[in-house]
């Protein structure tokens, strides 16, 4: 980790800016009179009145059009004014931070002049009018970087937002002349074309380091013109890229899939649970007022409230996104909604500042494990692909089970694991030596671990090990992985109290064959019928071996699942799989050991438990989606939730419990180290402050 002093260099102000706005004006050629009716002053005033502290507005868009007089870019042919200049000046007058949006990789001129500079991946945008350029080509030095420097020198901006800079490394695989030459020079040989290629993992590492080098180059160049300027690298260092950001990155942000594609409520929670475990960075996720980028609907105020509440509860900031009309008109109706959301944020800010999540349970999200499973393209367009599902499934189960948890990356694990009570290792294939050692020490000292499937079966070079790296902790020996599409766990009657029927429970995906050494088998693994390895074959009659084992190691306990339980839960969403997960957690880390326990709380209420000196904060966030046949439900019309019982473990009786920002006192009891209270009816988001 880098020290806070080092991080304070670029854009330190970002730490205090909570209410952000993106104005996504990508304007196709067919739109005439673009920005013709733009009134920068009244627009900036409307933003200020809506409580916005920072605005991102487009300097160069996804069609390759620039919105200011530029020597390097291609100005939108229907633009008759300096949109960037006017916007910057008007915003600055109101002390609103200015971050122009810049799409560095797309161009309208150079694809025709220098076609060999184009990104060769067929997934990269390429039309007759504009195309995606490769950053390893001379385009970077001759066009992209000069234009960024130009932008920074022309206007009093606070930084830039760079879009689609992760895609060339995480989604696309460019094999242009420049990439091939660079790879041959730095690694040797040809760029692998198949994920099964033995050098594919090395290629992945090379791509990752190339990406970081590019980002550093952007940073250095911008800094050379405007010292404290900040760069927002969309999508980088979020959940999908679980690596600690370098010292020049104080702020992480991303646009998770829009409501037409995915669910903000879920994605924001996952990002928050991950990003809040990093040290010394601030972060946000973007939510559109629309159903998708480029549409002009206005979603419900409730949905924006709920999504932003997740950001705040998770320790982040809000980044609402709007779309102006082609003439540069902004709709006051939109800013009524954004204003309402921002007023709530503003009123909560005094209770958010300096808070960190309480460490109770953690989930390991190892980048190497992701790369191990998906070497060439770990991202599946907008979101992480199946290689992320085990961690996604753990996140989903734990929020539904109201478990206080954080998702930690491999770099954070050795440092932070001692503060947690339990760790979950959802099919984390690659565990580095420091991780293995830290986990071993953690369990030895009394920690609990839940591991699944192939956890610790690969070395840091992605080569398969002969046994689990944590075989002693698990108390089982690895024999082989059966690559089947489903298997079953034979649930025993004792599990009924967790709502699990006493039958063979289908868990889709592969399973491992293991041999207990010191562990005891608590559930049996049932393979698919007749060794059918495709589809959802019924369970065979005889068991194949242990399905779930339990081991004592030092003062701690390890529970191991042979199937890929968490990934299956994320894919299939069968509730009984969540119940199995919560049963497993209860087995190694029972409720009485935890720092917070909820009773009578619906699965759709998410709890965040934060703390700062002398205070603890409990956030409860409701969720409700409509009854829709297909597609992502729209967040709206949340039914009030009554009668949730909250138990918080505290060393001594707290001084007070209040609902904030309202300041309403709430009754509680304290006995045996537990503070207990019943929540007020919950509509969207309630925050309780415990004064110690």
């Amino acid at each position: 980790m880098n020290s806070p002093t080092e991080r304070n260099k670029p854009g330190d102000w970002i730490r205090h800016s909570m209410r952000e706005l993106l104005v996504a004006n990508h304007m196709p050629l067919a739109w005439e009179n673009v920005w013709s009716k733009f009134d920068a002053e009244s627009t900036a005033q409307m933003f200020a009145d809506a409580g916005v502290e920072k605005v991102c507005y487009v300097a160069k868009d996804a069609y390759g059009f620039s919105y200011y007089p530029t020597k390097y870019g291609f100005v939108h042919p229907h633009l008759k004014r300096d949109e960037v200049g006017e916007f910057t000046a008007a915003l600055k007058r109101r002390k609103i931070r200015c971050i122009p949006y810049f799409y560095p990789g797309v161009d309208r001129v150079w694809p025709k002049k220098q076609p060999e500079w184009k990104n060769s991946d067929p997934k990269a945008i390429s039309t007759d009018e504009y195309a995606t350029m490769c950053f390893n080509s001379p385009y970077l030095e001759e066009v992209a970087l000069p234009q960024i420097r130009e932008l920074a020198s022309l206007y009093d901006i606070d930084g830039v937002f760079l879009d689609i800079v992760v895609h060339p490394y995480m989604i696309w695989n460019c094999t242009c002349r420049y990439c091939r030459e660079k790879y041959a020079r730095e690694v040797g040989g040809e760029i692998p074309k198949d994920a099964k290629d033995p050098s594919a993992f090395v290629y992945r590492k090379w791509l990752n380091s190339s990406m970081e080098a590019l980002f550093r180059r952007f940073h250095d160049d911008l800094s050379s013109v405007r010292g404290n300027a900040l760069i927002e690298y969309n999508l980088a260092w979020g959940f999908a890229h679980p690596v600690n950001p370098p010292e020049f990155v104080p702020f992480i942000t991303m646009d998770t899939p829009t409501p037409d594609v995915g669910l903000y409520s879920w994605n924001f929670s996952q990002e928050a649970r991950y990003l809040s475990t990093l040290h010394d960075v601030v972060w946000s996720c973007m939510n559109t007022r629309m159903s998708s980028w480029g549409d002009f609907t206005l979603r419900e105020e409730e949905s924006l409230m709920e999504e932003c509440a997740i950001m705040l509860a998770g320790g982040g900031k809000t980044y609402l996104a709007d779309l102006p009309y082609p003439t540069g008109r902004f709709d006051p109706a939109v800013y009524e909604v954004i204003g309402a959301v921002n007023r709530r944020t503003q009123s909560l800010e005094p209770f958010l500042k300096g808070c960190r999540p309480v460490a109770d349970t953690c989930v390991l999200h190892s980048a190497d494990t992701v790369w191990s499973k998906a070497t060439l393209s770990p991202f599946s367009e907008w979101r992480g692909g199946p290689s992320y599902y085990p961690v996604c499934g753990a996140h989903k189960a734990l929020i539904e089970g109201h478990v206080q948890f954080g998702i930690i990356n491999s770099q954070m694990l050795p440092e932070t694991i001692p503060s947690y009570g339990t760790i979950i290792l959802p099919d984390q294939r690659i565990l580095s030596e420091p991780e293995t050692e830290a986990i071993r020490n953690f369990v030895r000292a009394g920690g609990a671990v839940v591991a699944t499937n192939e956890t610790g079966t690969h070395g840091s070079d992605n080569k398969r090990l002969s046994d689990f790296s944590l075989a002693d902790v698990f108390g089982v020996r690895y024999r082989e992985t059966v690559d089947t599409s489903c298997c079953y766990l034979r649930a025993v009657p004792e599990l009924r109290r967790f709502g699990i029927p006493a039958m063979d429970i289908q868990v889709n995906g592969p399973f491992t064959l293991v041999e207990p050494t010191t562990a005891v088998t608590i559930l049996k693994l049932i393979p698919p019928y007749d060794d059918i390895h495709t589809g959802t074959a019924p369970p065979a009659l005889p068991a194949a071996g242990p399905g779930v084992t339990l081991n004592k190691y030092g003062k701690g306990t390890a529970l191991y699942f042979a199937p890929e339980l968490f990934g299956s839960y994320f894919r299939e969403d069968t509730p009984v799989l969540r119940k199995l997960i919560l049963w497993a957690l209860d087995t190694v880390y029972p409720a009485e050991k935890r720092k917070i326990v909820l009773e009578n709380a619906p699965i759709n209420v998410e709890v965040f438990f934060n703390e700062r000196s002398g205070e603890k904060f409990l956030h409860f966030i409701n969720y409700s989606g409509d009854k829709r046949d297909t597609g992502v439900p729209r967040v709206q019309d949340m039914p009030e939730v009554y009668g949730m019982k909250v138990k918080v473990r505290l060393e001594k009786r707290p001084k007070s419990l209040t609902l904030v920002p309202e300041g309403k006192g709430v009754k509680f009891s304290f006995a045996d180290g537990w503070m207990i209270f019943e929540t007020l009816p919950l509509k969207i988001h309630d925050v309780y402050r415990i004064e110690l």
Binding site: E32, P326, A333, R383, I505, Y529, E572, S624, D629, T630
Partner: protein, 726 residues
Amino acid sequence: MSKNDGYSLSRRSFIQTASTAAIGAAAMSGTAIAAADRERVCGWFKDTRRMLHLDSHFAGFKNVFTNFNAESAAQMYADSGFQMVSFFAKCWGGYSYYPTKIGIVHPTLGHDYTGEMTAALKKRGIRRIVYFMMAIERELQKKHPEWVVTSDMNVGPEPLSVQDTAMMCFNSPYTDQVALPQMKEILEKYDVDGFFVDIVMQQYLHGVCYCKSCREQYASEIGGEIPRSDSDPKAFEYRQWSNHHMEAHMEKVYRSLAQVKPDVAVINNYAWMSTYPVSPPWYVPHVTWDTATPAVGNYSWNFSFESRYLNSIPDVPFSCMNTRGNNWGDYALREPEAFQHECAILLAACGGNYLSDIPYPSGNPDQPVYDIFGTVNRRYKALEPILKGSAPVREAAVLHSADSVWSKTPMIPKTKWTFSPDYFSVTGVHKALIELHVQNGILNTQVCSDSLQDYRVLIVSDQRILSSREISKIRQFVKDGGALIVTHDTGTRDEKNGKLADFALADMLGVKFAGSPGTTNCYLRVTPELKKFGLPVMDVEAGGSYTQIAVTTAKKLLDIVPPYKGTKGGPPDESPEGPGVTINTYGKGKVLYCAADLFGGYFDKDTPNMRKLAAWMLEQVYPSGSRLIVLENTPINVEMFYNRKNDKEYFVHLVNYAGDKRDTGTPQVQNFVMVPGITVKVRFDRKPSELTLVPDGKRIDFTYSGGWLVFKAQPLHIHDVYRIVL
């Protein structure tokens, strides 16, 4: 199929039949004669509400039914309260599960499954329906490749079950020479009540078959080649020809089997449901369908839509099937709450449940599955005597015209399990109305014409083709004081799908048709008066394309705003183009016209503002104060059904819904949040004598004043039923 079998049609007879269909339908089907015939065929279905389907597609498995114990299985089904069980005779893989001389027996079949199951169920008084996959064969394609369906039909068996099979065309000699003889063989061997025939409609609605038989029949009956695209001038005629053959096929199967067993029940899965909005003929004893499973769609929504459609058809019992797992062929077990909720929708809509299990290869059932099914059935059974004979109260009607569907995509109206866009204008009305807690029924052309006078408001959402009978009924309805909401291209085509110069209802709408720009979106410019409906004062996206109109006698309420500067889709233009919503008075009634396909847009995009626009529109012509039932303080996910029985008893069903927070895919129904504080207002002309929660019998306090019975509902968990006695 031979030309002398009585079912093939000459071109002359086809045209005659098609042109007289509406008249014939009015005179015959859906009438007392049809009801009496249906009663004669299988009256027992009326009292059969708890059904079980056992889905044993075992082609990919060995040692099937080897340790099967029919007696204990049947006992478990009986103990779980099932009145009817459908079980396998022939599966997707083309295998038969009994000794057959015609079909191919599963190579590792351990028992005469069909026979043993029949006997064990009969012993327990449970009705017996055998599942028969008529079209799929394993060997015939080698002998008769010309019988095989030749289309890229988007339907097929589960990959695990298929192996080497082919689908035979029903228009080929296969039906007469193989399928029907095997079905008759089953009837002769076993004491079954009938058949569940799967994948019949798909051959006609999901694809176009160009096999030799189809081409020859089309050429002889219509002339020329079978069209290949929706833009072919003969595409609409092809659709009617194909539909007619589908109906003729189903009737032939019934008549043929009735020769062996006169009271045979033949259920054609999926037939006569909302996908094919035509009233079923007299020989159809029961209508059912397995709507998209949780892996694909949402039972909660689909069951509601199907129910609202099917319960408007007189005298036809219906059900929908819900699987134990996330999909067919899946061995997961969903939540008990999900089944209770899904079946509550069917019960509330006066339908039956049809729970579905996926047996293990042994055929022996799993007790935990039947623990859940038993719980659902016990609730059903407790409510049956109370609810028997109830029917939906008629208030808001939604026209679902089959011809309008065919008009939009005549060649392949249905491309997938869930609804394709040609249905969205109706599915969107349904979604908006259930969320607004408006008591509604979805009426096909025939039912609408027969019963419109009983309703108070009619919504005609982008229904391009209106028959002359419909037009005349709608005209009379509004003249008499009914309210009408019409959208987009309604009534812009004649009965042969030809474009009309003006709306067929132009005089009622008070507007003149001026064109269809064919954009992909449009906006309505919302005025400040609409704020009280929760609408923002801005240009609100209102669906796909819009209609250009000129006002004649109507008054403009809102402007339509096209996409920016003549583009096909995108942001709103600066200025409106003309009227977007108008209102007109016609006779004693009011007519509201919306130029946008608002409801289709709502179903497609699910933007809540579109529902709010629908609420505002409804309020303009049919205000809450004049409705029969109004709910207050009710979440959109609580669905209300309002039924009546013998003019003395009324039932209000409230059904809750809850899905989990999921990134993609259909949420799993589970973990309902209790909803307190719903206020129910029901209009009566005199004070009711009693209000109770049933079957519990708990008395509920109510007030009566100004013609309204008002009560506060108990906190709602999954499903509550209130009985009002006059």
